[in-house]
């Protein structure tokens, strides 16, 4: 009960901009002096206000849930795991500032955080300087391999490319022309550059694709959907949309897409950041058939997934979190995997020191709710994950349309990246 109240309080305080910076230090300093010996802390950098709040906020709750699981079986190396939450308010520099604070003041053993690549890039110098560990739960553009970041999700080589190959294959509709629409920042631009390199290597001419960007948080997609319609009706073969807009732009885009009467059967959209949670407010009957690709889908088969879904629903009900207990998204599972992978590595190392945890990381593997056993690569800090392609159904969920046999090796640096 006490924990619940403090969490609520922290969320409230964290959300007000004045209190955002103060959010991480009230109670913990007292506890540290009293019982520092039997507590180990994990820090969270997920926004509960601003543009990313709708999807990012729930990840802190997942970390708390995973920590509770660890504590229920006696903690890690005999210590109780405590989670310190913050609210970087979707303000990229604030991620770095709060990250430093978590490392220096709260002395957390590991950081879990960031959704957008720009926030990760902002924290990166901090974790490298302090030699800390950041567990990053999103699939992203790759082209980075820092020993201080554990990349829990896939780079394009093992997520986007398999999905685009599927779309270009007979089952996916033999896509010939591509409309890339993204939010204007590093992740969409890098992904699109790699895709262009890939298509060029397949002998596809440059007039078969178009590339458009909108500001982050853009909501009026009228003219862009008009352009997509025009692009789709031109000759040259099956068109698809590769959508890399993020956050609340995703539902706004799909609403306009459906209202202009475009069916997924004519122009499928591969929403690289599209999640079950993005469709919570939409009627998806007219959107059925659009695609996404992730390392986990809620409809993944197997008892592990059932177990995970049940504990999430129970946790939401018990803690009174403002999130839906019946919706589970890939980054939630990734961050959940991250907490467990960290705990396994710390136990294998017998220490919470970053270099030792890192050294022990490749030797442990975790049974991910997606059904794959996942582990970190021996030669990079990327975690090997399975690949799912999902197809949006009428009840705002994604059905598994295709999934990989195994966990493909992630390639941190894409061969299709031209400078």
């Amino acid at each position: 009960m006490i924990r619940l109240n403090r969490r609520r309080l922290l969320q409230g305080a964290g959300a007000t901009a004045l209190g955002a910076a103060a959010a991480s230090f009230p109670a913990p300093s007292l506890i540290r002096s009293a019982q520092a010996a039997d507590i180990v802390k994990l820090g969270c950098l997920f926004s509960s206000s601003g543009a990313m709040a709708n999807v990012e906020g729930r990840l802190t709750t997942v970390v708390r849930m995973a920590a509770e699981e660890l504590n229920a079986r006696g903690g890690v190396l005999g210590r109780t795991v405590e989670v310190v939450g913050t609210d970087p308010a979707s303000d990229w520099p604030l991620y770095a500032q709060l990250g430093r604070q978590l490392i220096q003041q709260d002395q957390v053993a590991a950081l879990f955080g960031c959704w957008t690549s720009v926030s990760r890039k902002s924290v990166l110098p901090v974790v490298e300087q302090e030699d800390a560990l950041l567990y990053y739960p999103l699939h992203f553009e790759g082209e980075e391999n820092s020993p201080n970041v554990v990349y829990l999700n896939s780079p394009p080589s093992s997520s986007v490319l398999p999905a685009v190959e599927y779309l270009m294959g007979p089952d996916g509709g033999e896509a010939k022309r591509f409309f890339m629409l993204g939010s204007d920042y590093v992740w969409p631009r890098t992904i699109n550059q790699q895709l262009k390199g890939y298509w060029a290597s397949q002998g596809i001419e440059a007039d078969a694709w178009r590339e458009e960007y909108v500001p982050v948080g853009h909501s009026n997609f009228q003219t862009l959907v008009n352009q997509i319609r025009e692009f789709a009706d031109q000759p040259g073969g099956q068109p698809v949309v590769i959508l890399t807009v993020v956050g609340n732009s995703i539902p706004d885009f799909f609403r306009e897409f459906a209202n202009q009467g475009i069916s997924a059967l004519d122009v499928p959209v591969l929403g690289l950041d599209a999640l079950e949670a993005d469709f919570e407010g939409l009627d998806t009957a007219s959107l059925a058939g659009h695609l996404n690709c992730w390392a986990y889908l809620q409809t993944a088969e197997g008892p592990r997934n059932q177990e995970f879904l049940k504990s999430w629903a129970d946790y939401v009900a018990a803690s009174g979190s403002p999130y839906r207990g019946d919706v589970a998204i890939d980054p939630m599972v990734s961050v959940y995997d991250g907490v467990h992978l960290w705990a396994l590595a710390a136990e294998a190392a017998g220490s919470f020191d970053v270099p030792e945890v890192r050294a022990a990381s490749p030797s442990v593997s975790f049974a991910c709710p997606s059904g794959y056993d996942i582990a970190m690569m021996p030669d990079s800090t990327y975690v090997k994950r399975g690949v799912f392609i999902g197809s949006l159904n009428e009840t705002q969920g994604f059905d598994v349309l295709w999934q990989s046999e195994d966990t493909p090796d992630p390639l941190p640096f894409s061969p299709y990246m031209k400078s």
């Binding site: 007979p170 909108v214 008009n226 009706d233 209202n259 009467g261 919570e280 059905d399």
Partner: protein
């Protein structure tokens, strides 16, 4: 000619066995080869279309199972549905699906074929002509399972004149690769009746392999005609996009034009009033769902007064508790209203949650009406435009013709003088703020079908609203309209050429340049402030 063709067809029908080879068809449906699956679906549709009542019922059930992803394949047979209520796909007998059965994965091509097959089957089985007409329109777009013999059989059986015309037109359009040049010309003409880019592509692609000069001539004429229509459609579409963007800006800024423009209060909580309006609409929706489900279709209309009142009450409360003490300290109101905005956001977040709210979309805000070329009027935006115009007219009338409006204008022009003349300035302040916040609440209803409704939604509107009000000239409602229309149009004209990011930058630069040259805005308010 036609009759002869039909006779041949009927004869060929009599020759083929009417009943489908169900086991083989189902086996190919479950085969993991897409081409075979597509062929099987088309064959099932054909069997259902020509095999009599029983066969049609079977075909419809199987196709619906494919569309609904409820088909289960197993080595011992094919089933529809899960568990004990399942059906055996071969004869639709009740059966229990075995444990090892796997769901048939349905990709978009399979889904498209199934949708086409379902439309074919409804052509033959629906008794309602409207449903058949709808199926015919679907087939226009989805011809995967349609073949000329099937279409001719449907035409022969069709009794309703309208549906028959649709089908006949569809048949003419399918003649684009007919050996007869006359038929090809008729096909080109029929296709160009609807001047869309898709049809232009269709004709242009046919012309690349065309050799007959007459057909080429008629094709080129058709393309020219379509191009004309497309150009008009494009212009209309830009105009409409600009208008709809302008209506959003106007809705968001109208309340602010009164609170900031007339009362001089820098209200940073204006965006949150919009959010409160949208949330009130959501509560109305849920209340109607429980109390009077029959009225659900009209909840957006019913919600308008409720949202107006809800936001107005919050506005009055803010005035009474916070603003009243700060009227002569505008910078303080800025901070205080910002605090109120954060308070409201977090209050909603803690009590209702951060997720986007789900709104039922009534028919008048769903989909769009194709007008000309590729120009579609999307209804949700039309709804916002209508409310924006109505709200603007209402506000102008209120300020111009009512005593309250006269008082507001008097207080705005010279507070001391107005008080001296016997106007209760305090009461006028309170009512004006109630009106301003109520309008924001109304905007919330109008924007709910357009935007995500969540606690943070207001933040997206506040900057734009201030920009519009300041650009239009503080205190001028007409200026607010002109400014929102101008910003909206400039935005949509730049967007397709230079992209959305540049459009935003250019608009902001233009606004800065304009404000520097003319700090009082487009329409300067005369009088002492």
């Amino acid at each position: 000619m036609r009759i002869a063709w039909l006779l041949i067809f009927v004869a060929s029908l009599a020759a083929t066995p009417a009943l489908a080879d169900r086991p083989t068809l189902l086996a190919s449906l479950c085969a993991p080869v897409l081409a075979e699956q597509i062929e099987a679906i088309s064959a099932i549709a054909q069997a259902g279309a020509t095999g009599g009542y029983e066969e049609a019922r079977w075909a419809q059930t199987v196709i619906a199972a494919v569309e609904g992803r409820s088909l289960r394949c197993s080595p011992v047979g094919v089933y529809i549905g899960e568990g004990e209520d399942a059906l055996e796909a071969i004869d639709l007998a009740a059966a229990e699906t075995p444990a090892g059965a796997s769901a048939l994965p349905v990709n978009n091509r399979l889904r498209a074929t199934a949708a086409s097959a379902a439309a074919v089957l409804s052509l033959f089985s629906e008794t309602d002509p409207t449903a058949r007409g709808k199926a015919a329109t679907t087939l226009e777009r989805r011809r995967e399972a349609l073949s000329l013999p099937i279409l001719d059989a449907a035409l022969a059986a069709e009794e309703d004149a309208t549906v028959a015309t649709t089908l006949d037109a569809l048949r003419t359009r399918m003649m684009l690769d007919d050996p007869d040049a006359g038929k090809r010309i008729r096909a080109v003409e029929a296709i160009s009746a609807v001047g869309s880019l898709r049809n232009r592509t269709l004709i242009a692609e046919a012309l690349t392999v065309e050799t007959d000069p007459l057909v080429i001539e008629s094709g080129e004429a058709a393309i020219k005609e379509i191009d004309r229509e497309l150009a008009v459609g494009r212009a209309l579409s830009t105009l409409y996009s600009g208008l709809s963007y302008a209506s959003v800006l106007l809705l968001a800024a109208l309340g602010l034009a009164i609170i900031f423009g007339l009362m001089g209060v820098i209200n940073l909580a204006q965006g949150e009033f919009i959010m409160i309006g949208a949330y009130a609409a959501w509560f109305v929706q849920n209340a109607i769902r429980v109390a009077a489900p029959g009225l659900l279709e009209w909840y957006l209309i019913i919600a308008m007064p409720v949202s107006f009142l809800a936001a107005a009450i919050v506005g009055i409360a803010m005035e009474a508790l916070v603003l009243r003490r700060l009227y002569d300290r505008p910078l303080m109101t800025l901070l205080a209203t910002w605090a109120v905005s954060l308070l409201l956001i977090n209050l909603v977040r803690v009590t209702i949650g951060t997720q986007n709210l789900e709104f039922y979309q009534p028919f008048y805000v769903t989909g769009g009406i194709p007008i000309m070329g590729d120009f579609i009027i999307t209804l949700n935006r039309l709804f916002a435009i209508a409310i924006a115009i109505a709200a603007f007219i209402g506000v102008v009338a209120l300020l111009r013709f009512s005593t309250f409006g006269m008082n507001v204008r008097a207080v705005a022009q010279n507070r001391a003088m107005a008080s001296a003349a016997g106007i209760d300035a305090r009461r006028t302040d309170r009512l004006a703020i109630a009106l301003g916040s109520g309008l924001a609440g109304l905007a919330g209803v109008a924007l709910a079908p357009l935007y995500n409704v969540n606690p943070n939604m207001g933040a997206g509107f506040i900057v734009d609203s201030f920009m519009v009000v300041v650009l239009g000239g503080v205190g001028s409602l007409l200026g607010t309209v002109v400014a929102s229309f101008g910003i909206g149009q400039i935005n949509v004209m730049i967007e397709p050429i230079y992209g959305a990011v540049t459009a935003k930058v250019v608009v902001l630069l233009l606004v800065i340049a304009f404000i520097q040259r003319r700090p009082e805005g487009l329409f300067a308010q005369k009088g002492r402030r």
